[in-house]
């Protein structure tokens, strides 16, 4: 695993920017709601994540943390 991605679900507003930005296409909206009524983004396959942090860079809510390992 090259990197660890942590999504703070309560902050996510389902804008979808990270989903579009992820080169590995490993982000998707979860089927459930967070407290604000949004489907928070979740990571489908942490293994594939390169830690490129593009998701972090584009997230307006700073709902994503990326740690290279």
């Amino acid at each position: 695993m090259k990197a660890k991605v942590h999504i703070i679900e309560s902050l996510c507003k389902e804008c979808g920017y990270c989903i579009g930005a992820c080169p590995k296409k490993i982000l998707e909206p979860a089927p459930y709601y967070n407290q604000n009524g949004f489907h928070p983004v979740r990571i489908t396959n942490m293994e594939e994540c390169t830690g490129c942090s593009l998701c972090y860079q584009i997230c307006p809510e700073i709902a994503i943390e990326v740690q290279k390992t």
């Binding site: 309560s10 804008c15 920017y17 972090y56 307006p60 700073i62 740690q67």
Partner: protein
């Protein structure tokens, strides 16, 4: 080298408080906040900085930035910045303003702070609309763009032409550095950060007025989805408001 300022861990910068931001989904303000905060962290100036909140959707930034902050009357941030910076020149002062704030009601304050070359940094978020008050026409609203006060679309014959802030300020002798960037894509985000860093750095160097204009999506004001809003930035706004450096006196 897109990751020149890479840290091992990417997470909320120190210069932002823990308070969640109250913007609409996909709003560009949040990205710009993070970039400013990262720059402040990287330059190690948080404890020496005073930030100035405008009136607009970003009126709440005094809650978000973890440094001394002051919230000002609509359009008057440059005047307030002038007052602060002239009294305590060792502070780092930045104003954060929307297009209504900076280019409509605050036109005179903007032009004159620029022409006086006041030594502070302005981050200008151009989203071509009055976000906070419900999507009315901004000075920067694009021709044909529909807003709540141009319901048939902005007609240049009736509503006039958009104000191009960087171009206008570039005609003055005062400003030191003017650049227009965008946060619609990651590449733009990284470029925006470099521009902001440069602007802060030249303030630290005492070189005078700098302004970074950020073309920024406002999905709510434009009545479209976040993704479509980013496309609008790239396909409609950017052609009208060309990106680039409009003035850079540090390059002489």
């Amino acid at each position: 080298m897109p990751f020149k300022e890479t840290m091992k861990i990417f997470k909320k910068p120190d210069c932002l408080t823990k308070i969640p931001m109250r913007y609409c989904p996909g709003c560009g303000h949040g990205i710009v906040h993070r970039l400013i905060a990262e720059v402040i962290d990287e330059l190690g100036i948080r404890e020496n900085t005073v930030g100035i909140a405008p009136v607009g959707c970003s009126v709440f930034i005094d809650e978000y930035f973890d440094c001394d902050m002051i919230q000002t009357a609509h359009g008057r941030a440059p005047a307030v910045a002038t007052g602060i910076k002239r009294c305590l020149p060792n502070l780092v002062v930045f104003s954060y303003q929307g297009d209504g704030d900076l280019a409509a009601i605050g036109t005179a304050e903007t032009v004159h702070a620029a022409t006086r070359s006041e030594n502070f940094t302005t981050i200008f978020v151009n989203n071509a609309i009055y976000g906070m008050t419900g999507g009315q026409q901004a000075p920067t609203t694009l021709p044909t763009q529909k807003t709540t006060t141009t319901p048939y679309g902005r007609d240049t014959k009736i509503h006039g032409f958009p104000v191009k802030v960087c171009e206008m300020l570039a005609s003055l002798d005062g400003p030191t550095y003017l650049e227009r960037v965008t946060v619609s894509k990651v590449a733009g985000v990284l470029k925006t950060k470099r521009a902001i860093k440069k602007a802060f750095q030249l303030q630290l160097d005492g070189l005078g007025f700098s302004l970074v204009e950020v073309l920024s999506p406002c999905p709510t004001g434009w009545g479209i989805t976040p993704q479509k809003a980013c496309e609008y930035v790239d396909e409609v706004m950017t052609p009208y408001y060309p990106l680039g450096v409009f003035k850079d006196l540090t390059k002489k």
